[in-house]
């Protein structure tokens, strides 16, 4: 069973976002990058599936700059067998471009299971799994919090509004992973040493024309300054007063 995990290199979640001079992208000077948090669950699930089946390969796949090699080396250290960077220097926010470029790669390098995070924490698009599955003709379940594989069919659980949904899905399939699915392992020293010898390939991404362009990127309006009402229990009546008569919130 060949498993592909789609990974994105994103600004660390503790980044204070600053808008670059072009007004369309973020200032990346001084920003540290990391593996998208949701992709960590996808990678862990791929490793668990491989362990369950006792065979197969896990390929970590990304689109991004060559700098993404660092994140991919981390994926190898955690247990992926191989990593591929489809290179581009642009920040791609257009989901159709990403999905088509990955589909092109996967048509040439077929896999039965494709896993990804439910969304990247930069563009917050939450669209890759379904988009990619449509282009590959695969089944798909998104935002899964529980996943089991038996006889080539997945049984997945996902949160919906006020309930949970149980979905079955035949392989080949694309599954997007949510927090709560598993507890990602971290790379240990042995894994880091092994990763140095694992294949990490680069190829230029085959990107179609963009289906949309960024007009602007802006910071949200700042909140008006608040105030400290007081200290300890004695401040409670003043808080209630403010919430009632000033904020009209209770």
């Amino acid at each position: 069973m060949d498993i592909v995990v789609c990974i994105k290199r994103v600004p660390a979640t503790d980044t204070a976002i600053k808008i670059a001079a072009d007004g369309k992208s973020i200032e990346t000077n001084g920003v540290s990058f990391e593996m998208n948090a949701y992709d960590e669950f996808a990678l862990e699930q791929a490793l668990l599936i491989k362990e369950q089946l006792g065979e197969g390969t896990v390929t970590a796949l990304t689109i991004g700059p060559s700098l993404a090699q660092k994140v991919m080396r981390d994926a190898l250290a955690r247990g992926a067998d191989k990593a591929v960077v489809l290179t581009t220097d642009e920040w791609i926010y257009d989901g159709a471009q990403v999905a088509q470029a990955l589909a092109t790669y996967l048509q040439a390098n077929p896999a039965q299971i494709v896993l990804c995070g439910k969304q990247a924490v930069d563009s917050d698009n939450n669209q890759l799994a379904g988009n990619l599955a449509a282009r590959l003709g695969f089944g798909c379940v998104t935002e899964v919090t529980k996943l089991e594989l038996a006889d080539g069919t997945f049984t997945a659980e996902r949160d919906i509004e006020g309930a949970r949904e149980v979905v079955t899905c035949k392989t080949p399939a694309v599954i997007s992973c949510n927090k709560g699915l598993n507890q990602p392992r971290y790379a240990n020293l042995k894994g880091i040493m092994k990763a140095k010898k694992k294949p990490l390939e680069e190829a230029a991404a085959d990107l179609p024309a963009a289906a949309m362009e960024i007009v602007s990127l802006e910071l949200p309006p700042a909140r008006a300054d608040g105030r400290i009402i007081g200290e300890g229990v004695d401040a409670v009546p003043a808080l209630i007063e403010a919430l009632r008569n000033e904020a009209k919130a209770i």
């Binding site: 503790d14 798909c140 927090k179 910071l219 200290e231």
Partner: protein, 326 residues
């Protein structure tokens, strides 16, 4: 014609309210593009829902109806919907940014080989080009895009547009195709108890590491309960969810839920940047924290510097009095 397609969400035969909000967004685009709003709904026996869409502002409603569509299947529904998008000259396709919308519209956009933008809070149509505004980086920034390929696909954030009302659209029905389903819903398990969903709550009471241990979240639950049934939900910081004190479904912030309630309490939460991203659009924010220098006080409208174990019980009593005297 340049029609705006709304994919409606019908569950258990009833129309989900966000679909009517999407019609409002679609009407905005239709008035600029000169087209009509065409709603498409899938299911089995959905006459009541399609009547509601016709009375809610869709000029035309297409029901893809039949036993094979009793349960949701992303692949089968997307295929049938795409046929109708093409047959009805759809130049924009909108759906609510719900669990179903996030699953279905990407699939539709992939089959149409076109772009998609999600979690949209504003839509526009200028000079024939559709545009949208959406939060990125969990709300730390807002991005405005312009579509350069047709049709334009977008999921619309719930509770952001008014629900559309009024209209007398025409309903037509096509048979749901039968065939192989790659994925299909087998069961829906209702969430236990009468908990208010975090994203819909009028008040969110969130706790963090300052509560010291899992059992002390009783204090947070009691404050939420003080507002009366169905009003407040419990939230939590990433630290306490990762520590296993609270389920991930309660996490507020980046890698958790982004919430925007009228009233938000941050108790024993220092205010890491990831947490602030998830709640900074709440209308009124109250912070209670021992550390006067905690970053949470920078976004809070009202702050109390103090020990949560002393302040919160007094606050519970006070809120109970307010609620009792309403």
């Amino acid at each position: 014609m340049s029609n705006i397609i709304v994919i409606a969400e019908v569950r258990g035969g009833s129309l989900k309210r966000p679909s009517l909000e999407v019609i409002t967004a679609a009407k905005q685009l239709a008035s600029a593009s000169g087209g009509q709003v065409v709603a498409i709904a899938c299911g089995n026996g959905i006459d009541a829902a399609t009547a509601e869409l016709a009375a809610g502002g869709a000029a035309k409603v297409i029901a893809i109806d039949g036993p094979s569509f009793t349960e949701y299947s992303g692949d089968a529904w997307a295929k049938a919907i795409v046929e109708q998008v093409k047959a009805n000259d759809g130049t924009a396709v909108l759906m609510a940014h719900t669990a179903m919308g996030k699953d279905l519209l990407p699939r539709v956009s992939g089959l149409l080989d076109t772009g998609i933008i999600t979690d949209v809070i504003e839509v526009s149509c200028e000079g024939g080009a559709y545009g949208a505004k959406k939060p990125v980086f969990a709300g730390k920034a807002t991005m405005t895009v312009k579509a350069t390929k047709s049709p334009f696909c977008a999921t619309i954030r719930p509770n952001n547009f008014e629900a559309s009302t009024g209209g007398s659209g025409e309903v037509s029905k096509v048979d749901a195709p039968s065939g192989d389903l790659l994925s299909v819903v087998k069961e829906i398990i209702a969430a236990g108890g009468d908990k208010t969903p975090l994203a819909e709550a009028k008040v969110v009471v969130a706790g963090g590491r300052g509560l010291k241990e899992a059992d002390n979240f009783k204090l947070i639950e009691d404050l939420a309960a003080a507002f009366g049934p169905g009003v407040a939900a419990v939230g939590a910081s990433r630290a306490v969810c990762d520590a296993g004190w609270r389920p991930h479904s309660e996490q507020v912030g980046q890698t958790g839920k982004v919430v925007s309630p009228p009233l938000y309490f941050a108790i024993g939460i220092s205010g890491a940047i990831q947490h602030l991203a998830g709640m900074r659009t709440a209308r009124t924010i109250v912070a209670i924290n021992k550390d006067a220098d905690a970053p949470i006080f920078k976004v809070a409208d009202y702050g109390i510097v103090g020990d949560a174990f002393e302040v919160v019980p007094a606050l519970i009593k006070a809120i109970e009095e307010v609620v009792a005297n309403r």
